[in-house]
């Protein structure tokens, strides 16, 4: 067994062990962050919007309304600009499956989720423009509308 071969093995073991420790440290910080925030934000959000399920039949296509339209949101996503509206949309579809949620308002039932930064007046204007009628508001900017 050559010196180099032995060195290679020892070095590999050291670097790999370091790798596992760094990964552990990273996971610990994620864990602590979650504890401080009272749970994973995606899980909490999914649980919140799942409340809409009881107002909707199983086999239905639903629209989605947010501060950005689909093309704007996708464009920003491709440019790595933080886009809340599209992230919320993905989780909405996950929460409400097997219902199909489309990023469009051309459906009899539409769910609106606006970010906190969107002024209320702008939200109301968008809903009015679309001719939507409130069915239920479950809080945190999430509401189900019917087309009038």
């Amino acid at each position: 067994m050559s010196f180099c071969n032995k060195t290679a093995a020892v070095l590999t073991a050291a670097v790999c062990l370091l790798g596992t420790i760094l990964a552990l440290e990273e996971s610990l910080s994620s864990f602590r962050k979650n504890q401080q925030e009272g749970g994973n934000p995606v899980v909490k959000w999914e649980k919140h919007i799942s409340q809409l399920a009881k107002f909707l039949p199983d086999a239905i296509d639903i629209g989605y309304l947010s501060e950005l339209n689909y093309l704007e949101a996708r464009d920003r996503e491709f440019k790595f600009i933080e886009v809340d509206s599209i992230g919320r949309y993905y989780i909405l579809q996950y929460a409400l499956a097997p219902r199909r949620v489309f990023y469009s308002t051309a459906y009899p039932q539409v769910i609106s989720i606006f970010s906190k930064s969107t002024p209320v007046s702008r939200q109301e204007k968008r809903i009015e423009e679309e001719g939507l009628h409130l069915v239920v508001d479950i809080g945190q900017g999430v509401a189900l509308y019917k087309r009038q």
Binding site: M1, S2, C4, N5, K6, T7, A8, A9, V10, L11, T12, A13, V15, C16, L17, L18, G19, T20, I21, L22, A23, L24, E25, E26, S27, L28, S30, F31, K33, N34, N40, V42, V43, E46, D58, A59, R74, E77, F78, K79, F80, Y90, I91, Q93, Y94, A97, P98, R100, F102
Partner: protein, 513 residues
């Protein structure tokens, strides 16, 4: 609920093991390494086969989906009862002897030396750390990451909740969720939910953990069988010491099972060439595992073609064209149950892949292929990710994982390049050859991925940033195996190799030393 999830996994394992025992009836008790490799194979095959069964069930009886576990349970019981009645002794032979457990666990190998034993201890510590890391990540991100709830678990929810409309998401309007993606993983998750009767978050987490452990077990056991104990431990350490791989395992996406099927298919192909006994069965298995990769992710198509081409070239080189045709016939026989289904699924059931959705015109292709900026951007991304694919996690882990530690190891072990001597009486010319084949597959896969990026209709920068690091992850275990096969750690007590592998009839008798 507490017992239903383990039961789902146990039934998958039982079916996988049954299939393995039918293909390879054991004549002698396996060593612990062979047992671990068989266990990983049985789990992977079992999860794959049961996903396929559920897919067929959902096509035939979508309204009776909740009765699926009963159907599967009855089938498994019948298959095992028939097998037990016929081959009772062979079942008992499938498990290692008590001595093998004791010897293999507490005493790695007589010639492994102090370093070998120390490496085993380091591997054990690393494994414990990684398991704790995995659990912490699973608690912190119980839904997994983006791809899990945008794609894999979303599709599983449609299967579980949708009844006869389970495939209603397969429309171009939901293209962001990649509705054309294969369904092995979503069906595996939904199958566990059908057993449990509810959408427990533990199901995708447990499957992710199983895929990761099976990947680790496969690599370590394979290297220990083909090379030696110390080389096996070092290979395992390379996997455990890659933070991105450990993180990705908890993300609940399809890269980890895909990496497992890639590695298992390579291992089965190698064993088909190295073992005269039932070599054709290993080839059938390699073909089947290749199609399981196709059923996991679209990248599986590329892998299947690469493996097929590499295997054919290898057989032409070693056996000639005539025997190659016969050998590849066995490979295709293994692919037969799933390949047509996968093809029909991709072509008829789902919308076209986003990359090929609008067709690729010759002019566009030529423009993209001759665009130097696309080449340089792709090349830069490949180089970066090859060396630092862990960097997506944290800057601190930049030097851990990726090609760099492997390169350092290979440079320091350059004298052992292609050695045929492992000092444990095994045939290593075959192992060296396997190393070259594994390298060839990695190079061809990388070239294939490179080409796909060049012609992608997506924004190239976005596509590279969001996926390039993950595609390296898929082939990383094959790369680790290739490096460890070509640059093995030579254990302490030098001895001459005592036989060739596969044992040739001329002089291949093993001498007892």
């Amino acid at each position: 609920m507490i017992l239903s999830l383990p039961l789902a996994i146990f039934v998958a394992l039982a079916l996988g093991l049954w299939l393995l025992l039918v293909l390879f009836p054991p004549c002698k008790k396996p060593t612990l390494n062979e047992f671990v490799l068989n266990l990983a194979l049985a789990l992977a095959i079992g999860i794959g086969v049961t996903s396929l069964f559920l897919a067929l069930w959902m096509l035939a009886f979508p309204q009776q989906a909740r009765f699926y576990p009963w159907g599967e349970g009855i089938l498994t019981t019948i298959l095992w009862a028939a097998f037990y009645y016929q081959y009772r002794q062979k079942i008992l032979n499938a498990f290692p002897s008590r001595e093998a457990w004791r010897f293999s666990i507490w005493k790695p190998e007589a010639n492994a030396g102090f370093l070998g034993v120390s490496l085993m201890a380091v591997l054990g510590i690393a494994l414990v750390i990684v398991l704790v890391t995995f659990v912490l990540l699973a608690i912190s991100f119980p839904l997994g990451r983006w791809d899990a709830y945008m794609i894999w678990n979303l599709h599983a929810r449609f299967i579980f909740r949708g009844g006869e409309l389970w495939h209603s998401y397969m429309i171009p309007e939901l293209g962001w969720s990649n509705p054309n993606y294969p369904l092995l993983l979503p069906f595996a998750v939904a199958r566990c939910w059908f057993y449990v009767g509810s959408e427990t978050l533990l199901a995708p987490i447990a499957l992710a953990g199983i895929f990761f452990l099976a990947l680790l077990g496969t690599l370590v056991a394979f290297l220990k069988i083909v090379r030696n104990t110390t080389t096996g431990y070092l290979g395992g350490l390379f996997l455990l010491g890659t933070p991105f791989l450990v993180n990705n395992a908890s993300w609940q996406n399809a890269d980890m099972p895909l990496a497992l099927f890639f590695l298992l298919a390579m291992v089965a192909f190698f064993l088909s060439t190295a073992r005269e006994e039932r070599g054709q069965c290993w080839l059938i298995l390699a073909g089947f595992l290749g199609t399981l990769a196709i059923s996991t992710k679209n990248e599986g198509w590329l892998f299947f073609l690469v493996l097929f081409g590499t295997a054919a070239a290898f057989f032409i080189y070693t056996l000639g064209i005539k025997r190659m045709v016969k050998k590849m016939g066995f490979f295709l026989l293994g692919a037969l149950p799933l390949l047509p289904l996968a093809f029909l699924f991709s072509v008829f059931l789902t919308p076209a892949d986003q990359i090929f959705a609008n067709g690729v015109s010759a002019t566009t292709l030529l423009t993209q292929l001759t665009d130097s900026s696309r080449w340089s951007l792709t090349l830069a991304s490949f180089t970066h990710n090859m060396f630092f694919f862990s960097s997506g996690i944290d800057k601190k882990t930049l030097l851990c994982g990726g090609v760099l530690p492997l390169l350092v190891y290979a440079v320091l072990s350059y004298r052992r390049f292609g050695t045929t001597n492992d000092n444990n009486g095994k045939d290593n010319a075959a192992a060296r050859l396997a190393g070259f084949i594994f390298f060839a597959v990695v190079i061809l896969m990388t070239a294939g991925y490179f080409f796909i990026y060049l012609i992608t209709p997506y924004d190239l920068k976005w596509h590279l940033t969001t996926s390039n690091h993950r595609i390296f992850l898929q082939i990383y275990p094959i790369l680790v195996a290739a490096v460890m096969l070509c640059f093995p750690f030579v254990q302490q007590h030098e001895k001459k190799p005592t036989h060739t592998y596969p044992a040739s009839k001329k002089g291949g008798k093993r001498k007892k030393s």
